[in-house]
């Protein structure tokens, strides 16, 4: 089990890698989304916000998220550090993403662009 602080650190690592990737920022300029990241095994909620291609992270839940990402704390930490890809936990149900199919594909894509290969 990971802690809330470890999830925060993984999200900040994800944000740093994202914001260093100019091509990825360009790809997402049209995709403004508020994403709730919620741990299923500990009280931990974070908000990822994409606006104009820039990604920000803050602690706590947003009022009206466009997407909700739910998994146990360990999976979330592994995911945002890039130790695992989202596809398999999504397919086996460990990772739940609530939102439109288009948005789910896009979120998967962002993660692969950061950590892929």
């Amino acid at each position: 089990m990971a802690t809330h602080e470890e999830i925060t650190a993984s999200l900040l690592a994800f944000q740093e890698s994202y914001n260093k990737n100019e091509r990825l920022k360009q790809m997402n300029r049209d995709w403004d989304r508020v994403i709730l990241i919620e741990a299923s095994d500990i009280p931990s909620r974070h908000t990822l916000e994409l606006r104009g291609g820039e990604l920000s992270v803050r602690e706590g839940a947003p009022p009206r998220p466009d997407l909700v990402v739910i998994a146990d704390s360990e999976t979330l930490t592994d995911l945002f550090y890039g130790d695992i890809t989202p596809t398999e936990p999504y397919m086996n149900g460990t990772l739940k993403i609530i939102g439109s199919e288009d948005d789910i594909v896009r979120l998967d894509f962002i993660s692969l662009m950061i950590w892929g290969e």
Binding site: D30, T87, D108
Partner: protein, 303 residues
Amino acid sequence: MKRVVSVSLGSSRRDHRVEVELLGELFEISRRGTDGDFERAVRLLQELDGKVDAIGLGGIDVYLYAGKTRYVVQDGLKLMQAVRHTPVVDGSGLKNTLERETVYYLREHTDFLAPGTKVLMVSAVDRFGMAEALSELGCDLTFGDLIFSAGIPYPIRSMQELEELARKILPEMVKLPFHMLYPTGKKQETQDEEKVRKFGHFYQEAQVIAGDFHLMRRYMPRLNGQVIITNTTTPEDVAFLKEKGAGYLVTTTPEFAGRSFGTNVIEAVLVTILQKPWEEITPEEYLECLKRLDFKPRLVPLQ
């Protein structure tokens, strides 16, 4: 009589059956759509296994290529593995030969693909041979793989970038349910109006639009005389393209009874003629067989 059946995840409204004589042998070729129902497709494949001469998988790819790397679409593989006795193909083996040849044929016989021609390929990883041939001819290429499969308005402009992005993304994306990446079933009969508005300019800026017809159709805006290079078109599809304002239709596969069949069907026919496992058939053998059959691209003026 040889029987070849294409089992498709696409709409059953496009089903058809023809009889055609090829190299002195009578073939019954039919297409059976399962309306995007994966389990129905598996059951149908199991029913046909051992009872027909070859099966084509339509509305889905099993193998995608970028450079020398082959990526296996997991859903496609599950369908292929449902068949144990009858040869089953997805058309990817033939695409590499037939669609390259189509590009070279158009260079020789038309002025559609002069160097610098702006070409939109709605998706290139399912037609890498065509993408490479267009690149060889010096066309100004836009690959729409991210735009039309992932909704990301990022045009890929070179083969190098296509291969680089494929290396990052495809090993994982191929594990997703295929319907998340490609229009299956009823989606093949409708247009995504929001994306038509958002991405239509990529079509309008091109002189030639090439690639998978269902993907192309789903996001196609009003055109202004563009050349369309594709296959699997029905008379209704031809009417749709005319109405949209396309200038020419080039189909890479021959027409039987008003239908241009998918490459999976033609590959299944060739496998039946060549009587070899598809993994052992070389591009040269496909090419030689296509010459014997006198298969040529079909050019249809639309305006």
